[in-house]
Amino acid sequence: MKVMFKPLRLGVVLIASLAAQASWADSVVWSCSRSEPQPEVFEKLRAYRIEDLSAKDDDGIVITLSDLYNAYGGQTINMGRAALTVCTLPSNDPIQGAAMELLGYSPKDVEAVAQLATSKLVLVPTIHRMQKCIVENHPAIGFFENVVENARVGPCF
């Protein structure tokens, strides 16, 4: 049986057991893009416990915690031949404040990095556009206030 053990990360497959925990509510959920829509995979994710899943059935991108920190710090993270896109919000957005506080970054510094021409950080105007950014820029990461899980996006830690 495949198990979704990961170095430095917890996979999409932990959603079922963790979503019910209160701690989701007082944090942000780092979220990763998935490959092409595969409805049957999504159904499987919902139907089975983690140890029954093959890692091959999870098309979420795989990043490490160091990648998360480095990406929001402005470094380019290579994902095979592609570069990871980082979706982020304006510095005055309270969710952005919470997310950057978790990482220990200044929201204004991150916003400044996002405004550089060569940056892989994409500034989205509101949290409602976050999912669109993550999906359209695959491979990409971003965050939500709550768990968002569908065929194209899922939590990455």
């Binding site: 049986m1 495949k2 198990v3 170095p7 490490t64 915690l65 160091s66 994902m79 830690f157």
Partner: protein, 372 residues
């Protein structure tokens, strides 16, 4: 004392010019220069609050084997020259030209993915980075906690994930126990480091059995608590008998990303965001042997201050255990509970976990001296 002198000299070199004419004099050109391995610093005046303070401690006579169950280890990295024992690739499925169980413990090739699944290049370097924290040989100041330890590299995952069975087999093999279809390990490990997290929220019997057998064999099993942003431990850190390791910042706070669970055995530095203080340890990252890409995309074997996560806190504890065992080779995992009070200090609790009594690793030199 040669290693200590060498470490001291290299640290002095960072601070400025070192002139050695019978004795070494340091000309302080840059008083803001930082100790790149600040987490070993023992000088009370300058040490980070969360420092392990192992810098002045010489390894003992016994050479200790530390198994690194991970993504594989790059055998040609200069920071690990002379440090690697013959390892094994325990991944049962052949994937992308590796796996299928063989003696080739190298990580997956550059750019490997699992079907459409994209994996960051960090996964290729993870095992090498972990191994260097345990036993780095000093190349470019990449010192392990115990440079005399030997690394037993065991590859257990690649881009397609891993199985609980392969992890259990890896633990057994590391400890010198038989595994069907795999040649016996001729260098059983006294310490088994598992910088992996993400299994079930309760340790499954198959994994617990392997941990129990390894402990019975005399191996200390150390696992990263996990980077799940203050949620409970999952496998393998939640298995009974495992020394689970959470992450602290340099200023002795539990890092936001670290798992938060009363069962966490011990905390030590795991790196994190830079701290807004004017100190040598403000960078708050751990030094590791790794790979970086040149501007042309070629891989370069380098040493860098960049590691963040409980994956890197765990090998600090594994390295410490190997240092301790090098002085007291007859200690058993069951001795941990009666000795741990000697090398811990308190860590501030977080309100989210009122039942937690976090303890940080600190190793007074006198402890090992007294035990020689």
């Amino acid at each position: 004392m040669v290693q200590t002198a060498l470490k001291t000299a290299t640290r002095q070199a960072r601070l400025g010019w070192v002139i050695c004419l019978g004795v070494c004099l340091t000309l302080p050109l840059n008083t803001q220069a930082r100790n790149v391995q600040w987490y070993f610093e023992a000088d009370t005046a300058t040490a980070a609050p969360a420092s392990m303070k192992t810098e002045p401690i010489e390894p003992g006579q016994a050479q200790v084997v530390v198994a690194v169950i991970d993504s594989g280890v790059l055998s040609d990295h200069p920071a690990l020259t002379g440090k690697l024992l013959p390892g094994f690739d325990m991944v049962s499925d052949a994937q992308a030209g590796v796996g299928g169980r063989s003696s080739n413990h190298a990580p997956s090739p550059k750019g490997t993915s699992c079907g459409q699944r994209m994996v960051s290049s960090s996964f290729r370097t993870h095992g090498t980075e972990v191994a260097s924290i345990v036993a780095g040989n000093g190349h470019q100041e990449m010192w392990g906690v115990n440079p005399n330890a030997m690394i037993l590299p065991i590859r257990v995952f690649g881009p397609c994930g891993m199985t609980r069975e392969d992890l259990a087999d890896s633990i057994r093999w590391a400890a010198g126990l038989p595994v069907a279809g795999v040649p016996m390990n001729r260098s059983p490990a006294k310490v088994i480091n598992i910088s992996i997290s993400g299994g079930a929220t309760e340790c499954r019997p198959a994994l617990q059995a392997a941990v129990d057998e390894a402990i019975k064999q005399g191996a200390f099993v150390v696992a990263a608590a996990g980077n799940n942003f203050q949620r409970a431990l999952v496998e393998p850190a939640n298995c009974e008998g495992v020394i689970s390791v959470g992450a602290l910042s340099a200023d002795n706070r539990i890092e936001n990303y670290s798992a938060l669970d009363p069962r966490t055995t011990i905390y030590t530095v795991g790196g994190g965001p830079a701290l807004r203080v004017s100190t040598p340890w403000a960078d708050n990252k751990l030094r590791v042997a790794t790979i970086e890409l040149s501007v042309l995309g070629a891989e370069q074997l380098v040493v860098a201050d960049k590691a963040i996560g409980t994956s890197f806190a765990a090998p600090l504890v594994s390295g410490f255990l190997s240092l301790w065992l090098s002085h007291r080779p007859n200690l058993k995992p069951t001795d941990w509970a009666s000795h741990v009070h000697q090398f811990v200090r308190s860590v501030p609790k977080l309100a989210k976990c009122p039942d937690c009594t976090p303890q940080g690793l600190v190793v007074p030199e006198s402890i090992l001296k007294a035990q020689r």
